[in-house]
Symmetry: C2
Subunit: 334 residues, 2 copies
Amino acid sequence: MKNATISDIAKRAEVSKATVSRVLNSPEKVEQGTRLKIEQIMKELSYTPSATARNLSKQVSSTVGVIVPEISNSFFGELFSGIEEIVNKNDLSLLYCSNDDDEEKDMTALALMDTQRVRGVLYVPAVNYEAVGKRKEIERMLAALKCPVICIDRDIGLPFDTVHFDDKSALRQTVVTLAEKGCSRIAIINGNNRSNVLASERYEGYLEGLKEAGLPLDTSLVFHGEYHRGYAYETTKQLLKRKEQPDAVITCNNSLGRGYLQAVYEMGRQNTYTHVSLDRIEMLDILGISHNYIERDSFELGRRAAELLVGRIAFPERETQNILLEAPLIRETF
Amino acid sequence: MKNATISDIAKRAEVSKATVSRVLNSPEKVEQGTRLKIEQIMKELSYTPSATARNLSKQVSSTVGVIVPEISNSFFGELFSGIEEIVNKNDLSLLYCSNDDDEEKDMTALALMDTQRVRGVLYVPAVNYEAVGKRKEIERMLAALKCPVICIDRDIGLPFDTVHFDDKSALRQTVVTLAEKGCSRIAIINGNNRSNVLASERYEGYLEGLKEAGLPLDTSLVFHGEYHRGYAYETTKQLLKRKEQPDAVITCNNSLGRGYLQAVYEMGRQNTYTHVSLDRIEMLDILGISHNYIERDSFELGRRAAELLVGRIAFPERETQNILLEAPLIRETF
DNA sequence: CTGAAAGCGCTTACAG
DNA sequence: CTGAAAGCGCTTACAG
């Protein structure tokens, strides 16, 4: 059995389709008697208007696209939840697409958003761009999109509204605070600072912190690899064997933090260094293990991004907004 | 600037809209020369067909709806990832909606799916149904949906294809194994077995296990509360003070597992009971803390559900499938 | 307050 | 292989 249409209702109610449409869109313009009658019939036939038809006719969509690297990572899961909260409040729905931090999939995702004619897109760009050619292609696709785009979490220099955390300040602040508390050899385990914007931002903050604290840069304490657990695990194990020991270690994302912990616990060396992780690690709290972390509210990141989009939809001509969210350092062990 | 339409292309190429449409849908029916010319023009105008218009015209949608309780819970995040994998392979896109395990939101979500005319829905029903009236209403809405529905993770007795884990067997197996290894006083911390299907399934498994092992039911070891961390935390703290101690504790979801751990670690009593949690707790592995758990592959759950939907779309008349996934007990400490 | 008509961007028998 | 025309389910000026 097929869905009832506006024509079915019109026929049954002995009115025109226009009138039925009006009770949907501007009921105050319809005489009460006919309105009631039409509503009654709608109920009987359990009529619901087709969003597809409405969108085509009105030439706007009621859905918003979201592109994130991977939803099974809790950081993005929470980001997504924050987005949903605001999007639902504004009677929009959510089309989801992941990009796996891969530029090819990013392009596929963008193509989908285009063909779906979404109202706007909330976009966490893939950041493992090695090939500049693809990046250019992505920029072209973004420009071709006829809807507002909000760029989230990673600043890849696009001319859109943006929201991200101020990781650079957070890293700087962390280094300065560690130094104040007596650390002088501060190691950093980070992603690839050449191909990954996030990693280079964080590294810059680290450098600024050293300078501010009057500490020299010791490149033997700087580790740029992949944002994977295994990289931090191996690095930390090496570090533990060194002659010249650091006194503090900063891990620059949640996978690296886990790898670090895995290594120090495995070696029974959990109290060797002062450790600061980027993002809280909830399970440590649960186990009653104190730790230090840079706190980033990913729900809030999502909410702010979605609000930015809603604002942009309402005021297409307003100036580009760039929101920087604070990421405070939480100290529990030093 | 607006998107180019099929008419724009047709005009420029001096052919009819039908021909342009053909190069999109059945290019082999178009003479090579005209096809090439049209494709060229499409590129020049960076034309992409509107999914909205196409869906309306073809009377089918290319998007699939997903309703899950909350994406920020990693269990559902992983489930969702599994779904996405299959859905993308089949050239479908994903409309996301959460229900917060709340029946009101469940209805909102279903209404959205209806109005969006999705191709099918992957549905994890909210399970905190106190009011039977609402449940009936939800069943009515599901029946009214003109598309296939796959019911995931919770068997609420709906006449659809289903996939879930065999928690009942897993619990039975767990109790039997614990008994074999010498435990005789096995506590269970569970959700509300009256209002929550999952909780009652798990409790049944527990009861079966006791029977099979020849152990008596001691109701002072049975805890039915909320699936929240705080409930397990409080319960465990009480338990630790008791005179008559259990020798094993089973926690029936990941929040409860965390609450249990929080309590035993806080009291420094982490080795008091043999603990089995439902679902692996990754952080424990990382910290090198052995634990026992019932393993459920939530990615696989998502994949299977999506495959079921794809199959149902292809063969609408095939018999209802009910898939039960195994959830093996992994023992590390006993 | 209501209806006839055109239009949104596509697809698809039908005829040639 | 191609085009004219009708149709998908709505909305919206326009006229009354």
